[in-house]
Amino acid sequence: MMDRYTKLQMAGIYFAITIFLIFILLPFFEMFMTSLRPLEHLFRSPYQFWSDDFSFDAYSQMWVTVPLLGRYILNSIFIATSVTAITMVFVIPAAYAYARLDFPFKSASLAIFLGVNMFTGAVLLIPLYRVLRTLGLLNTYWAMIVPGVAFLIPTGIWLLRSYLEKIPRELEEAAYVDGASRMYTLRRVVLPLAVPGLIVVGVAVFIGAYAQQFLFAITFNQQRELQPLPAGLYEFIGYQSVTWNEMMAAALVGVLPVMVIFLFLQKYLVAGLTAGAVKE
């Protein structure tokens, strides 16, 4: 351990953390406050932080305003889950190959994977649209799943590869000497030991899939029944008015599943993301 901090330093550290947290959490807080207010009070001037008429009405009203809201939330979870599952199917063997095998263009292809991550989906929307149209996948769940998988594989490979590299090579050599094939070793030895790493990658991919749905949904899908929550929130924008309070309530409810996952798995996430950073 380095030297203990002085009281003054501790105060400084906590001050910085507080500023940072306020910056990050204020939007969520404001969302919550907005969702509690009656619509007409939102535009009250001067701004009133505390009102007497807080209520949870928006949380029940939103299901009426947008009848498909429940469907949208389920769609979101379904799409993110599918993206995660398919991504893992590709990422696990690829990450293992990058961690253990030697093949031509290994580092070059790894760099290309990283390069793919530098493009946002937006840059590739038009080419992707053409590809999906040619394949006849527009206006299906696949239109939102396939691009999602493609954009998340590189991150997955990079994350899982560094985790797999930490598994002692001798374990695999022992399995090899005992006659186990690569796939058998992967299944019986490597993957069981990589469970914490798989959880990290799975959660990271799930969150990524949850966050990136919006763009693909509004461009590649016209079917209301298939829309995920971020696209569905648009329906709170009416011809006459925007029911902001209900929209905020729906957004919070939609974010809830991800929040819950985060809370349960955060100890794995923190351990996993810093894994390999320090030589043990």
Binding site: E170, A174, A175, V177, D178, R188, L193
Partner: protein, 366 residues
């Protein structure tokens, strides 16, 4: 069981050549130890035998069959790794059963084989535990168990005791020797610890810089080291090497003037040396005795071990000199004493480090 022959094995990593023309013939049921300093290539050689590395050139023959390119299982070898390489998520039973599961052996046969291995290694009551719940010695036994269930022809051990503490290492040494006798198997064992080599081996291969310095029984290596390297590597404490010059040749051997002023006639065959040659005289610390004449040694540090007293000091010209004296030898730190040396117990090495053959060597212990 099986013989193991290595024929002209060479190995390079890129431009670095780590093994040079290794030729060894290991007999059936022999316990052979590869010993040498770190980086001498002993582990690489073992990994080549195992099939984990490919030799750049050369052949590996097990039981008369060329297995140079065969899979480890087809070679009939099994290996125990330095870190044990136990699967932490599997129970002791599953760890030992792993090679049999790979073979898809029938459950009854599998259970019987694992039970037998567990019995030999006294692990029968530990089968349900995970490796993390075992002590170091028990983990080592599980690793050995995994290697014996398959009934391999040749067992390979890669520094298996180096992670254990000193006391346990002594016990495991005895257990391994016993296991060798029980299994009646050919075993190749890699270590950097010359005590392990001396105590367990039928024959020892001393490796240095990727070359075989000498291949022989422990007593051969001790009494007839072929080179200066072997002489100084085998024996504890290390052999003293005192520089000297050959003054004259007599029928009894060359007369050598040692640094520090002492002169001895040493009974060796001076075939590669002549009068005036610079030589080094090897004197084992245990071959000297307190006396009234002989080498004059000033003692810097004295270690009393009870049974023996080890002194560290130097002779006249500053050459370091170790001596192993009796437990209650009347010496003190800072003192200068005379140590007598029996010329017949001395080894002489020429300028290239090769030994001059001893005439009056002690009888070899079988």
């Amino acid at each position: 069981m099986a013989t193991l022959d290595l024929k002209a094995i060479n190995k390079s990593f890129g431009t670095a050549k780590v093994l040079h023309d290794i030729d060894l013939a290991i007999q059936d049921r022999e316990f052979v130890v590869f010993v040498g300093p770190s980086g001498c290539g002993k582990s690489t050689l073992l990994r080549i035998i195992a099939g984990l590395e490919e030799a750049t050139s050369g052949k590996i023959v097990i039981d008369g069959q060329d297995v140079s390119t065969a899979h480890p299982v087809d070679r009939g070898i099994s290996m125990v790794f330095q870190s044990y390489a136990l699967y932490p998520h599997l129970t002791v039973f599953e760890n030992i059963a792993f090679p049999l599961r790979v073979q898809k052996l029938q459950p009854t046969e599998l259970n019987a084989r694992v039970a037998k291995a567990a019995e030999i290694l006294q692990l029968s009551d530990k089968l349900k535990l995970k490796p993390g719940q075992l002590s170091g010695g028990q983990r080592q036994r599980v690793a050995i168990g995994r290697s014996i269930v398959r009934n391999p022809k040749v067992f390979l051990f890669d520094e298996p005791l180096s992670n254990l503490d000193a006391a346990l290492r002594g016990d495991m040494r005895v257990e391994l020797s016993q296991l060798h006798r029980e299994l009646d198997a050919t075993m190749v064992y890699v270590t950097h610890d010359q005590v392990e080599a001396m105590t367990m081996a039928d024959r020892i291969v001393v490796l240095n810089g990727g070359k075989v310095e000498q291949f022989g029984t422990p007593m051969e290596l001790y009494h007839h080291p072929a080179t200066k390297f072997v002489a100084s590597f085998i024996g504890q404490p290390n052999m003293n090497l005192v520089p000297g010059t050959i003054k004259e040749m007599t029928p009894d051997g060359p007369v050598v003037a040692l640094a520090g002023g002492h002169t001895m006639t040493i009974p060796v065959e001076a075939t590669t040396a002549h009068v005036g040659s610079k030589v080094e005289v090897g004197i084992r610390p245990e071959d000297v005795d307190l006396g009234t004449d002989g080498l004059e040694v000033s003692i810097r540090v004295l270690e009393r071990l009870g049974g023996a007293s080890i002194t560290y000091g130097s002779i006249g010209d500053g050459t370091a000199f170790r001596a192993s004296l009796s437990g209650n030898a009347p010496v003190r730190e800072g003192e200068t004493v005379h140590l007598t040396v029996d010329p017949a117990a001395c080894h002489v090495f020429d300028a290239d480090g090769r030994v001059l053959r001893r005439q009056a060597a002690p009888g070899l212990v079988a």
